[in-house]
């Protein structure tokens, strides 16, 4: 049985290999949610944000807004395809995918 999967990332891509790992194994219909220090993947002009931009359009990208703002990232600089969400949205997202994998 094939099922849908939400990848949950929490470590900064510059400090931890799991960002690269998850991009390598993500399937075309899966989702990626950045929380905690993983939102540093959205820093403009980094290889991490470029790699995310190159993912197939069928992969949905999300980030927890409070974690983005808390770390001083400017909302205006974020890639358009990243949806900013709050905790109630995150719960809803977890119900929409069949399972959640935390890296």
């Amino acid at each position: 049985m094939r099922s849908t999967l939400l990848h949950l990332l929490r470590h900064a891509p510059q400090d931890d290999t799991h960002f690269a790992t998850s991009l390598r194994v993500i399937g075309p219909e899966q989702g990626l949610l950045l929380i905690e220090d993983a939102v540093y993947a959205l820093l403009p002009r980094t290889s991490a944000v470029n790699a995310m931009q190159l993912l197939p359009a069928s992969i949905r990208l999300f980030a927890l807004e409070s974690d983005v703002l808390a770390r001083g990232l400017a909302i205006d600089d974020l890639p358009q395809r990243v949806s900013l969400i709050d905790y109630p949205d995150m719960v809803e997202l977890c119900t929409r995918y069949d399972k959640v994998l935390s890296w």
């Binding site: 949950l8 929490r10 799991h18 929380i35 905690e36 220090d37 927890l64 974690d67 709050d86 905790y87 109630p88 995150m90 719960v91 809803e92 977890c94 119900t95 399972k99 959640v100 935390s102 890296w103």
Partner: protein, 129 residues
């Protein structure tokens, strides 16, 4: 839906708050939490001895209140807890330690409780990897 939520990182990690915010949103969204499971350094959240600076949030206190207020099943992995010096009265007694530093609402139990939660919940979410 029934959620099982596991936390692996300790009180000093941002994950300790993320997991709590998420758990609160699960209940607020009309879902259930079938079990909370605390593993690795997350067992320190069950300690009654932490003293946080006045201007920092006390996550151990808030987790405890959240668990009590909602009558949740909060399991602390007993093997991880013993290693890290988190003992309830029964374990302190068994291992001949002079005092205990955890107790209600936290329950010390085995990894099987997590396995069971993974099997029976509709969604399992892990924080603090």
């Amino acid at each position: 839906m029934k959620f099982a939520i596991a936390l692996l990182a300790g009180p000093q990690d941002p994950a300790a708050r993320s997991a709590l915010m998420f758990a609160e949103a699960v209940l607020a969204g009309g879902h259930q939490i079938s079990r909370l499971f605390f593993y690795r350094d997350a067992v320190h959240l069950a300690s009654t001895l932490g003293v946080q600076p006045q201007d920092e949030c006390d996550l151990a206190r808030r987790w405890k209140a959240f668990i009590n207020d909602n009558g949740l099943d909060a399991v602390v992995c007993i093997a991880a807890a013993l290693r890290r010096g988190i003992l309830d009265a029964a374990e302190a007694d068994r291992w001949e330690r002079p005092v205990a530093n955890t107790g209600e609402p936290w329950v010390l139990s085995g990894l099987g409780q997590w396995v069971d939660a993974l099997q029976t919940a509709d969604r399992a979410v892990t924080f603090g990897t």
